[in-house]
Symmetry: C2
Subunit: 339 residues, 2 copies
């Protein structure tokens, strides 16, 4: 009982962390939303319609908030960070649109996906539009450094997504290969989003790299927790669905741990369900029971804690400001979502 109360208190504290981040960047985020709305306009009405749907249902805006908070941490007081934060969100949104086509998803955060509503064709093409538009906004900003950072991140993301496609249904995927995939598909954009906060503030390379390191490790922790949540009943309270990765045959760390720690008969189960894609309605329950038996979810979160610790240490060179504390607390928030 005491334990539950304590957990609840912790959770409240870390939920607060997200609120404090939102408060910290509130004015800027409002401006980012305006830029997003303005830049998704087109003389072809389906574009703002579809883009508006995904932008609205796209979640917490954590990536653009990272750019804004990083710029604040670097005491930047110019106007450029809001446009660039919008570019980061556009690149993320384009990726989501293409991901949903690749995964053939019908729901995202409980809302019908753009491909379910308007078809795969429109999702692919509007993704391309948002991606191009992001580059147009960066060009108008005029920094070749920023263009380099975000074009490189985009190429790495695409590489990571192709790599993930190749590990799908492959139960022999190793933990290190999985880490390569999430470092590319998720952490590269977190790193770039943070780094450009230092670039607009014209900070030294050491600070740029510190923010890159913060974002990269936070991104890995974030994805690890996301992958644990896909098998956790706690997801339901977060409005997420359980078992999407299982149904799609994605090989994430919870699976890798349960598979490696399991016996032959259990491995047969993973082969049948994930490699051969033969799943009955109760198989997701068995998958979750196997993960419980082998402590796969708490250990995935433990791995996330390791990257979270690295993320926090990366910020060590910055003075102890409110901005820094908010970014440190954000790490705990990302990890504590898991329980």
């Amino acid at each position: 009982m005491t334990n539950v109360v304590k957990l609840d208190e912790e959770r409240a504290k870390t939920a607060e962390a997200l609120d404090r981040l939102k408060t910290l960047v509130a004015g800027d985020l409002e401006r980012v939303n305006q830029v997003i709305l303005q830049q998704m306009q087109s003389r072809v009405p389906l574009i703002p319609q579809l883009a508006g749907h995904i932008v609205a249902s796209g979640g917490k805006r954590i990536r653009p908030m990272l750019t804004l908070a990083a710029a604040k941490l670097c005491a930047y007081d110019g106007p450029r960070h809001t446009n660039l934060a919008a570019c980061v969100e556009f690149i993320h949104t384009a990726t989501l649109l293409h991901d949903d086509v690749v995964d053939d998803s019908a729901l995202r955060r409980g809302v019908e996906t753009a491909n379910a509503l308007w078809g795969n064709e429109a999702s692919v093409l509007v993704g391309d539009f948002l991606f191009s538009r992001a580059f147009q906004v960066m060009v108008a900003d005029g920094s070749l450094r920023v263009l380099e950072i975000l074009s490189t991140a985009s190429a790495v993301i695409a590489e990571g997504e192709v790599h993930q496609l190749l590990t799908t249904n492959d139960t022999t995927t190793s933990e290190d290969t999985y880490l390569d995939v999430i470092a590319a598909k998720t952490a590269a954009l977190f790193a770039a989003a943070c780094r450009i906060g230092a670039v607009v503030a014209d900070r030294e390379r050491q600070e740029e790299e510190a923010l890159d390191g913060y974002g990269r490790n936070l991104g890995i922790a974030f994805q690890l927790v996301d992958d644990a949540l896909d098998y956790s009943s706690h997801s339901i309270t977060l409005g997420k669905t359980v078992g999407d990765d299982f149904r799609e045959g994605k090989i994430t760390l919870p699976v890798i741990l349960a598979y490696r720690r399991g016996n032959d008969e259990e491995r047969q189960f993973w082969h049948r369900t994930l490699e051969e894609g033969q799943q009955s309605d109760t198989d997701i329950q068995r998958a979750i029971r196997l993960m419980e038996r082998y402590h796969a979810l708490p250990d995935t979160v433990e791995r996330a804690r390791h990257y979270g610790a690295k993320a926090k240490d990366a910020l060590g060179i910055f003075p102890n400001t409110d901005e820094k504390q908010t970014l440190l607390d954000l790490v705990d928030f990302c990890i504590d979502r898991s329980h």
Copy 2:
């Protein structure tokens, strides 16, 4: 008989035009192919595999050759045009990959498409990779002007593709709407490819715009002829297939002319086949017969000639060099493919 001989002579003359263009840029094109090969590399082997397939089967390399020839016309003698021509080809290739997914195509130029061989997922993601890689190469080149031109062209292409999607199966599409679509989806990249030839050579705005105008009008003419070829038996000699647009319910100018010039009963035919998508095996033959009855193909080519004439006149401000003559002849080649 004399007429046939004359046609054959003309065709030989214009086929020569493409050969002369190839000869003009041969050394540079070799270098472009090397850049393409080098830049499609990735630690994820599926990327060069899939990209190599589409690049190899991707056709005549007309867009990068335009950049090379435009740079030559502007007496450019530096090294940048070959990298940028490779970017143009990458953007085009990314578009082809996504197009084939959107159209669910199994064949392109008689060769199996990447989506047929590796699936839609990989095609979408490798397209994203090539697109990002193009921007990385542009950033390394370092010209914000070039980045502006090609990011804008990319956004316009995506807009055009979405617009085309909206006109698909819609027999009420007007000629002007169709022109908007092809100006965006095809002509924008032809224009940009030519324009950057002047930009690298640091030519005056008037010359930049002349090359933009040449490319844009050539692109429109090229697409009009392509759309006529989709209903022409002459396609078979070119290794193209007949009836793809018809099967996909695409509303191109030959359809628009036949529909508008037809009677009620004929319009019912277009409704059934293109709007409702109810097609029997012989319907493509009837479509071609209706086009013959209303002179839809020769008149589509006549429209192409109009844009071809504009393309030629756009180059009027350049001195009469071999390079200019080659570009002028290329216009005739693009149009004379039609018969």
